[in-house]
Symmetry: C2
Subunit: 291 residues, 2 copies
Amino acid sequence: MAKKPSADEVRARLDDVARSLEAAPGVRITDLDAASTPSFDDGRKTGEKLLGTIGERMSELQERLYAHGRSGGDRSVLLVLQGLDTAGKGGIARHVLGLVDPQGVALKAFGRPTPEELEHDFLWRIRKALPPAGRIGLFDRSHYEDILVPHAAGTADADELTARFAAIEQFERELVAGGTTVVKVALWVSRDEQYLRLRERLERPDKHWKYSPNDVDVRLARPAYEAAYDEVLARSSFDVAPWYVVPADRKWYARLATSALLLRALLDLDLDWPDPSYDVATELARLDATR
Amino acid sequence: MAKKPSADEVRARLDDVARSLEAAPGVRITDLDAASTPSFDDGRKTGEKLLGTIGERMSELQERLYAHGRSGGDRSVLLVLQGLDTAGKGGIARHVLGLVDPQGVALKAFGRPTPEELEHDFLWRIRKALPPAGRIGLFDRSHYEDILVPHAAGTADADELTARFAAIEQFERELVAGGTTVVKVALWVSRDEQYLRLRERLERPDKHWKYSPNDVDVRLARPAYEAAYDEVLARSSFDVAPWYVVPADRKWYARLATSALLLRALLDLDLDWPDPSYDVATELARLDATR
């Protein structure tokens, strides 16, 4: 059995993962290998065991974060998940966020905007869904849909896109300044793997509900979406909130890598248990008097 | 190894659990043994294993419920959890709801009403937090606080309480008619066990945040709360939404019994995977053309 790594070793390992996944300047998403497993070379079995270990540590730190939120702290973590259909966003929600206490989690999936949402600025519905202090939030799709969709469809002009990027940058800087750690993950699934996953949805009656005819329409427009992703990675990987591109053809890997990024964000908060807002000795005496 | 039980056997077993926990007419909560383990006599180790098995089954049925919600279905399940401080409501949220996909769960904890909430009818904030179709909702405290607190404090007169019970009955009947299965669980922790749990919160720095001086105030008023619970059980155990009283001195038991009640509710929905809203053969051909 391997020796338990020290806190410094864990930290160095997680930094290594982050470095290997951070979107490099000028990266083109189609140049990346969606089946690769950067920073984790020991295969699925080892990876799944490691996910369990990461989950336990995440769970402890999540409780500490929650305790802070309940004690007036302003910290929170927001995981922004983007990815083409079948990239595995739902699987991350289930198998990564599922590792921690559901009370400490705030999940939000963004679909096509409702008529009410369309009457507001595109960030309106996003702001409403931000995690409260003390929580880990997950956005399954996000404000980036408001760049990706019009970009891919060619329905927004360059000035509009520039204005949206500027609004997003300001928004995310504001979030970070307010105590929210923003972790942005683009899950990258290959064309071939996407085909297999869509086919499985059509072949298995228990997966039919996950399929929509729109999935093929979007698949046909895949090159336009890839270009839109390149643009997003190039223009919104801010110092305070960089993009990570996670290869997602291997589900175990995408879950492990995303959980490592999340654990790193939680460790960075560096939170102790909050001090009590009452006098412990006094309360012990009061309690004992009721025995 | 025991033979896997048939669906009928599982169902009969769950009915047995429900029968043993349903609040009997005229029950007095202080007559119940909070350390007992009705319907599960094989101890903690077996109980914890069984919780894992129940969790797997719950998880499957939760996904089916979610699929229905996504396909236009109107069914949902609402677990209403009540209990004195330290009864273990948070533990149920974590260890029971934590067994299923967090995407399919809607948790809401109700604290002291905010000024905005007080400007509305007491059911206003409750209605806003109802689980959407396809979800399992959990209320950690609920509209019953609006009976329990004024009853225990003696700040509501008989007419007011009667009006609230009537409003609650109408509300819950409306919920059930609209497709929501309502499972109401009162967790029952003894005076002695409550003392030990509060003491642990004061002794362990990692639990200080869970303690509030108000906990001792409420403990001092415990007889008044017990009488309020008796009143709630007597007057709001409706045929469509009965109360279950779950002995909670043994945490493993409270989690197991509550998960059994939840599994029974999910089985009762009797849902198949929803039919696709598209033609499968057509979509297979469209997809294959993109290969």
